[in-house]
Assembly symmetry: C2
Homo-oligomer: 516 residues x 2
């Protein structure tokens, strides 16, 4: 996922410490209610499926390695048609009767259906693209998918896409192969939509999902989920009920566009008689946040911001009660929450508050020492986190209006990516089924009202699809976007599932969704 590090960071931030403190969070009431009739829910005895998974183990690993060997990278326009084609082959091979390319103004999406003659139809979201990588930074070749010992996790596969997202997705496909090999039909029909631009913020994904035939297929679904290795290194899982939206925007102040100062960089002595693009940017930026830099101050920014519900506050209070603030702070390298807030207040802000962050900035001379120039250009890269019911489009308009009103209308506002916030009901089928499978296997669960990170779930939770959407899956992996990205194949920790157990969890999840 584009913001995968977020999810990892959040999960770790919240869960490693929960596990470290030995805390198993109390099951929330709705999940408890979903825990009835466990056996029947999972399709009875799964021994034959488990045996099939074992038989197919080498084949499943080979499938993932083949996928990793073909990196599709939208930012580099690398292997995009090839990646979509391999996605189609993988899906057909796993039993999808139909799988085809959906063209967009950007890279192709894939739309596939598996009709199992089941009563219930489940929506799924895949990505076939991966993040860029530099082989020089890797200890094992990023396209080889080599399996290596990596204490304390066990045998892991190292490769670009291993965790984000080919590993979990291939594990889900292995579940379909195993059902077939065990002589079973899938307990649910599946409508699957894949994209190839997740790592560049899904700019054309709506064009895939909003195709009439895709919308029609999705209208039969009750939920959409993406395979995800949800377990922390200690085995606990966090279920996220939503995620903030995110808008990435580049602000560019240039003397050329402004029509003031010198159109080129010029000797700094001229500052005495010429306007500066850098000061123009600094002054414009300064208006975007409160004096301490912590609250957005863009006109109308809070118009659509919904406060946390009592239930959301309760979930946060439960997390706070079971975590060690000191451990979390240590993990994050932090001494103080902003404004010296209490841990609970900080966690409420994390879930509830929109942010205006400067992720990067540059202007003029940035090398060692000095260079006496008056720069003609300044660039700031912002990322804006949004909460329900803010939308990326409305926020873009508000940012532009805010700047224009204050005399900064010349500053270019280039939106480079944008997700709306996404939220899924705690009592939805997806959350109940997911929680039941985790619970059945004894995994400590925590419910997060909202991830501070972001993913394109809003395309499913928002109109016109309007379905619950989230992630499900067991197992562990990490280092998404980083060198030595890994996915645990054979776990050395009994509380963390390897690929084979995770395959079975996907089978259980399909049965749980069918039975709910």
């Amino acid at each position: 996922m584009r913001d995968g590090t977020t999810v990892n960071l959040n999960r770790r931030g919240l869960l490693m410490t929960a596990a470290a403190a030995g805390a198993t969070l109390a099951m929330p009431r709705l999940i408890r209610a979903a825990g009835q009739s466990d056996k029947s829910m999972y399709g009875g005895d799964l021994t034959s499926v488990r045996a099939a998974i074992e038989r197919q183990r080498a084949e499943a690993i080979k499938r993932l390695q083949t996928w990793i060997a073909l990196p599709s990278i939208a930012a580099e326009n690398r292997n995009m048609p090839e990646g979509a084609q391999l996605m189609i082959e993988l899906l057909k091979d796993a039993g999808f009767q139909s799988a085809k390319v959906i063209k967009t103004d950007g890279q192709p999406g894939v739309f596939a259906t598996l009709d199992a003659g089941a009563q219930r139809t489940v929506g799924m979201y895949f990505m076939y693209d991966v993040k860029q990588f530099d082989p020089k930074e890797w200890s094992s070749p990023p396209l080889e998918g080599a399996i290596v010992d990596r204490p304390p996790f066990g045998k892991v596969m190292i490769g670009r896409g291993a965790i984000n997202q080919k590993g979990p997705e291939a594990t889900f496909l292995a579940a379909l192969h195993a059902l077939k090999a065990a002589g079973r039909k899938s307990p649910v029909n599946i409508v699957l939509i894949a994209e190839g631009e997740e790592e560049i913020a899904s700019p054309h994904f709506a064009q895939v999902v909003h195709q009439p035939e895709v919308l029609k297929a999705l209208s039969k679904c009750h939920e959409v989920f993406m395979p995800f290795a949800s377990q922390s290194p200690q085995g606990s899982v966090q279920i996220a009920l939503g995620a903030k939206g995110a808008v990435e925007v580049e602000l560019v102040a240039s003397t050329e566009k402004w029509g003031r100062g010198s159109k080129d960089d010029i000797h700094s002595s001229y500052k005495a008689e010429l306007d500066s693009a850098v000061w123009h940017m600094v002054k414009a930026l300064s208006t975007l946040v409160s004096e301490d830099g912590n609250d957005p101050a863009i006109d109308g920014w809070f118009e659509h911001v919904k406060p946390l519900t009592d239930r959301q506050k309760q979930l946060i209070a439960e997390q706070v009660a079971h975590n060690s603030e000191a451990d979390v702070k240590k993990l994050l390298g932090v001494q103080h929450w902003l404004r010296d807030l209490s841990y609970r207040d900080a966690m409420e802000r994390l879930a509830s508050q929109p942010t205006v962050n400067i992720e990067g900035m540059f202007a003029g001379y940035t090398g060692p020492g000095g260079k006496t120039i008056l720069p003609s250009k300044a660039t700031a890269k912002l990322d804006l986190r949004l909460v329900p019911d803010q939308t990326a489009a409305d926020c873009e308009a508000k940012l532009k209006a805010h700047l224009a009103k204050r005399g900064y209308g010349d500053i270019e506002v280039k939106i480079t990516g944008g997700y709306d916030p996404t939220q899924t009901e705690e009592n939805s089928s997806l959350i109940k089924a997911s929680a039941a499978v985790y619970q059945q296997q004894g995994m400590p669960i925590s419910l997060s009202p909202r991830l501070a990170g972001s993913w394109p779930g809003y395309i499913f939770t928002g109109a016109p699809v309007s379905l619950p959407a989230g992630h499900f899956g067991t197992g562990h992996g990490s280092r998404a976007h980083a060198p030595d990205e890994y996915y645990v194949i054979e776990s050395s920790n009994p509380a963390v599932q390897g690929m084979a157990d995770a395959t079975l969890s996907y089978v259980m999840h399909l049965y749980a969704l069918a039975a709910i």
Copy 2:
């Protein structure tokens, strides 16, 4: 010179256009007064000296090429003792009886004396270091000093240091050689101080100049000058009566030093609960200047700022009257002076106002696209131009106090270089002699009350030396600090002197100083 591009830019900005407009500025009264008894002032008939210069032409060029072949670069700690040693040899070779290294806490300086038994002693300032260079960017090898045709200038020498400052300095040395070859003694004794750290803002030059023996030698002098190829491409010269001071300072905001936010870059979603070093920097910077970014707003900044005198305003008015504002604006790539000032008001600001400029800035992710991080550090490189009677030391203290008072005391203030402003009286011997030599040769002159750029002249004009200081020299060159830096050896424009004529001008200048 460190801020050499300034001088060039200023000269070009003021003089190319003056020449383009065909304007020969009226000679100011004091210069006119110095024009009496021209012949005797220059030591009578200089035919034999001129002949010696012609005979030694090849030797003088070779001397400059040898010097260029040994680049001393303080920033790279490259050839520093070797550069000082070569400086000593060049000086001894030119007739200095004494020339020796003066050690400093940084790179060595050189102190030399030429006792001609003359009544008058003249101070000189040399630099033996040059700016860094990348040979790949040059059309001719930067250490070769090749002589190439370069229309419209004529035959020029291309090399690092060609104009800044070895070319003019070697031309001055050629003048001493020519005097000797013509059987003459120098009309003045010379006290010469050279440094090897000019390109890094002369951090230890005071240690050289303030040596007791150096101070004692300087106490016999009436002025200090540096050789400089002052002519514009059209042949006019500008005499600068002073220069602004300059402080280069790096501001660094880091979460580590601040004790807030995360000590490392962290996922941007955490902005909701953590302080940002980048916002901290933006808010701090914003307090340093007025809302439009054009006036310093640092507490007490104007305490020692002296207004322009009526005479200074008059000189500016003369420049303005003789220049084409449209041409100057075109040359600078400018549509509007700040606040839409008139040309005259803009030129008065250029001479009179201190500035706070951001020459560079960087934080977080600066590559293509986005990266959702909350950066742990932000850096801004400022350059502060000072006017009399501001001092670099006082301004540094004021900047620090200003930041501390507003809650930004954690932001590191690293001074990387600093010059006080420098000012020399229009009726000083140096200015009168220089103007007389230019005038004698029919060069259009303009008097600038103060360069907006900077050079370390304050070490001579300030206490304890307290002498007039400036630049003198004819000829032309440009691209200081840039690739293909050049110095005109044989000029194709009769109004611009080549190296031989410029050599004679230095001879005339020494006689003018002796006679004044």
